[in-house]
Amino acid sequence: MSDPPFDPKPMLRVLQEHEVAFIVVGVVAAVAQGSPIPTRDLDVTPSPAADNYGRVASALRDLDAKLRLPDGSGLAFPFEARYLAGNTAWTLITRFGVLDLVYQPAGTRGYDDLRRQAFEVDLGTGKPVLVASLLDVIRMKEASNRLKDRAQLPALRQTLEVIREQERRS
């Protein structure tokens, strides 16, 4: 079963409208910093603060989020704060494509850890979002040790090198 066309901007906008505290991680964060590797899903790390679970839940309802099954289909699920708090990773399908909530990405201690090096940037929603640093994206990909992630590392490291070179020259 095929996912709907990937459109991360409305997903980000809904999360912002519901005042969710989150950091964009994964390939979208890398793309925002110049990486040439494309992706079909938006990965975010929400804050695990107690009041944030409720905001995430209402945003997910607004996005018509469903649990994404391995065949790509969606399974309806009653998103509520108490259920979200019981799991650290959620793979979801929404009206705008795949959304992964990763409360503790590999190699990190989650939101507060990533927050230190994250920076604010407008990804087209008209309001800045927090994006994980490229170094942290690399840290997560290295630590996850999945073949898919390892394959992305040369492009991510090369992006970091080009950025450093440009910084050095300026």
């Binding site: 690399i138 290295e142 970091l160």
Partner: protein, 108 residues
């Protein structure tokens, strides 16, 4: 900056402070900070020692040099983050018909 970024990545992955890493390798916190900022470059042997002190191993591999991503990266860095995302999404969605056709052919 490669050694600086690698060292910082390893330390953050280990979840330790510069002071703690310094204690483990018997160097000062300020020395660790200089390496992480790229003010001073550690030797390869020192870098390996530092990364081991983070509980990680620096792997070695001789691969063919490949800078084929660089033109795309440089091009991406000329536009705003929102435009980079826009381009990436357009590219992914443009490939959907081909992916669908491939999937269909695979299941025939």
């Amino acid at each position: 900056m490669i050694s600086a970024d690698l060292l910082k990545e390893a330390r953050l992955r280990a979840g330790i402070t510069q002071a703690e890493l310094g204690r483990r390798v018997q160097r000062s916190q300020s020395q660790i900070a200089r390496w992480e900022r790229g003010d001073v470059k550690p030797s390869l042997e020192t870098l390996r020692e530092l990364i081991r002190a983070c509980g990680l191993e620096l792997g070695f591999e001789l691969a063919n040099y490949d800078d084929s991503y660089v033109p795309d990266i440089v091009d991406n860095l000329r536009v705003t983050p929102a435009e980079r995302l826009e381009r990436s999404v357009a590219w992914v969605n443009a490939l959907r018909p081909w992916q669908a056709a491939f999937e269909k052919a695979r299941h025939v």
